[in-house]
């Protein structure tokens, strides 16, 4: 196994995307067989990725050909696993949703793989230009995935809004890169940090400006406070499995890149951001909570609450330079927790609404537990995990972040986050209460639990519970401590030479 083994996950996904693109031309293949092929490529990529999972390494594959633009380390393997699971989950959740009569064709799966390819490259790129192009590959395919059903004007509008704002933030990223290039004469991660060391005695004000512009792009992509307005509309306008994909994987990929960039290069610049980020976090939490309270539509509520979760993640991001490794690993762990809960919630809602074109509001769930008890149970588990109740993976994730923030001395942030959590219990529990405490069911034509998606969603629900209680109650069972250890290891792998 040479260097190629480090690139195999990328190769499988990239080749899979091209193969699917060619296959979608033939009319003889049904859409479910194309979905199976896509799934096959993703699983192959996942297996070849897991081979290096948890092994401390940092390799620049084919350094004499690629000149260190692509890196493979424990960190990238960790994040690639999340991204690949996200893509696999999207296909499984949407198994019944992606049907030809909804104008989904084989090209959709090709674009899904292209977008996963772009995100994986974003995690693995060690240079700003290739990172930008990887980001563009991922977002261009996402724009099209959102607007894929061109007969539905809501989809196209969501896609157009995202496109305009995404291109604008892309320009800001490039502008920031230009300023960093002006100050350091390089765009390679690692070299930038060396140029910015205080020993060089250089004026780094240009680099600070550039890095701040890149931070703004990052805040936009993860929908933090001043740049959050697109989120709800775009999530609302996209097909549900695509909303799930965006909410869970894209945020992970962007966080992964920013974390790498900050950890490797911007150690000295990050101090200038503290005040700015504190304000952003508090406003993100407050405004996200406000939006989530105001929504009546379930999809829009989940979109708004994703803004609040961004706020939690940013708290760990701020405390990273004081408590270092544990903050970084708590971000990684929280990303997994949010990923599982959001994927499950979005997936279940898309399964419930796949029979008709209903827009699900709170009211529709009145007495839902009497019709579909298992579905209500699963939905409750996901809501509990999103709210962060003990016994679920969401609790452990929040616990690590809040205790880290207090340890790092950001008591104000921790307090406001805990406050936001308390309020969030209201809008998550409202759904549970409506499901269980109303006698007369309103939703009657919900498909029964049948086929692949419910099995998979049930699997996610078990994972959410296992992440919360598994390590406490079941001794000698592989537990989440393993994930946290690997998260710490992957943070360490960033600084290997």
């Amino acid at each position: 196994m040479g260097d190629i083994s480090y690139l195999l996950p990328l190769l499988f996904v990239g080749v899979g995307a091209v193969v699917l693109m060619l296959l979608s031309y033939t009319k003889s293949l049904s859409i479910s067989s194309i979905a199976k092929i896509a799934l096959g490529f993703l699983v192959l990529a996942f297996i070849s990725n897991v081979y290096y999972f948890g092994e401390l390494h940092k390799v620049y594959p084919y350094e004499n050909v690629f000149f260190g633009m692509i890196v493979s380390d424990t960190y990238s393997v960790y994040f690639n696993s999340i991204l690949l699971v996200g893509a696999i989950a999207t296909i499984l959740i949407g198994w019944d949703y992606f049907r030809p009569d909804r104008r989904f064709t084989g090209e959709f799966f090709s674009l899904l793989l292209f977008s996963t390819f772009g995100m994986m490259l974003l995690v693995q790129s060690a240079e700003l230009l290739s990172a930008f192009i990887a980001l563009e590959i991922a977002s261009l395919s996402l724009y099209v995935m959102i607007g894929f059903q061109t007969d539905n004007i809501r989809r196209v509008e969501a896609s157009y809004r995202y496109l305009v704002l995404g291109s604008l933030s892309g320009v800001l990223f490039l502008f920031g890169t230009a300023l960093i290039y002006a100050s350091t004469k390089t765009t390679f991660l690692g070299n930038i940090g060396v140029e910015l060391l205080p020993q060089t005695g250089k004026d780094i004000s240009l680099a600070i400006g550039g890095a701040t512009l890149i931070l703004i792009t990052f805040l936009f992509k993860i929908s933090a406070f001043p740049f959050q307005n697109w989120t709800i509309d775009v999530y609302d306008g996209s097909p549900l499995p695509v909303s799930a994909y965006m909410a869970s994987t894209f945020k992970v990929a962007v966080f992964a890149f920013m974390l790498r960039f900050v950890a490797m290069d911007l150690g000295y610049i990050k101090d200038y951001w503290d005040g700015l980020l504190m304000g952003v976090i508090i406003l993100t939490l407050a405004y996200g909570t406000f939006l989530a309270l105001a929504q009546n539509n379930l999809k829009r509520m989940l979109a708004s609450s994703s803004i609040v979760h961004t706020g939690y993640l940013l708290i760990a991001f701020v405390s990273i330079d004081i408590i270092g490794e544990s903050a970084s690993s708590s971000i990684i762990y929280y990303l997994i927790a949010y990923f599982l809960s959001a994927m499950g919630a979005f997936g279940l809602i898309s399964y419930i609404s796949s029979s008709d074109k209903l827009r699900l509001t709170y009211e529709d769930f009145k007495g839902f537990s009497h019709v579909r008890p298992y579905m209500s149970a699963m939905l409750s588990i996901f809501m509990l995990s999103l709210a962060g109740l003990p016994g679920t993976i969401g609790f452990i994730g929040k616990f690590y972040i809040f205790s880290g923030a207090i340890e790092a001395g950001y008591t104000v942030l921790a307090t406001s986050a805990i406050l936001a959590t308390f309020i969030s219990i209201y809008y998550y529990f409202k759904l549970i209460a409506l499901m269980y405490f109303y006698p007369s069911p309103i939703l009657s034509n919900v498909p029964p639990l049948k086929g692949l998606p419910p099995i998979f969603i049930g699997f996610i629900a078990i994972a959410v519970l296992w992440g919360g209680i598994g390590n406490t109650f079941i001794a000698f069972f592989p537990s989440i401590d393993f994930l946290i250890d690997v998260a710490k290891l992957s943070h360490r792998s960033l600084f290997l030479q």
Binding site: I133, E157, A158, S167, A178
Partner: protein, 105 residues
């Protein structure tokens, strides 16, 4: 000397702000797209000027890749504009209000 890197950077930032003005103030979706293209041009100019000033070629390569990015975005913009125009028969971005903060349905 006036014809230095500062002048180029100033010019590029001026063009960038002109483009930004266009994106936020105009309603025609074609003009919004063109403003974004204009901003990309300004960034390109910045990279090439820096490349000349630092005697490094990498800035020019980056500028070339940015042209490729602009081309790809142009393709997607144009196809989305075609789709939107087919549905709405207008290029005014104000009529795209199906997704509003209020509940539409």
């Amino acid at each position: 000397m006036s014809n230095s890197i500062t002048a180029y950077m100033f010019l590029a930032m001026l063009l960038l702000s002109i483009g930004f003005l266009g994106v936020i103030s105009r309603k025609n979706i074609f003009v919004i797209y063109m403003s974004i293209e204009l901003m990309l041009n300004a960034v390109n100019l910045m990279f090439v000027a820096l490349s000349r000033y630092n005697d490094l070629m990498s800035g020019q390569i980056i500028a070339m890749c940015i042209i490729a990015v602009a081309t790809a975005e142009a393709g997607i913009f144009l196809s989305l504009i075609v789709v939107l125009y087919r549905r709405k028969k207008s290029l005014d971005s104000d009529i795209f209000n199906t997704l509003s903060q209020k509940e539409a349905l």
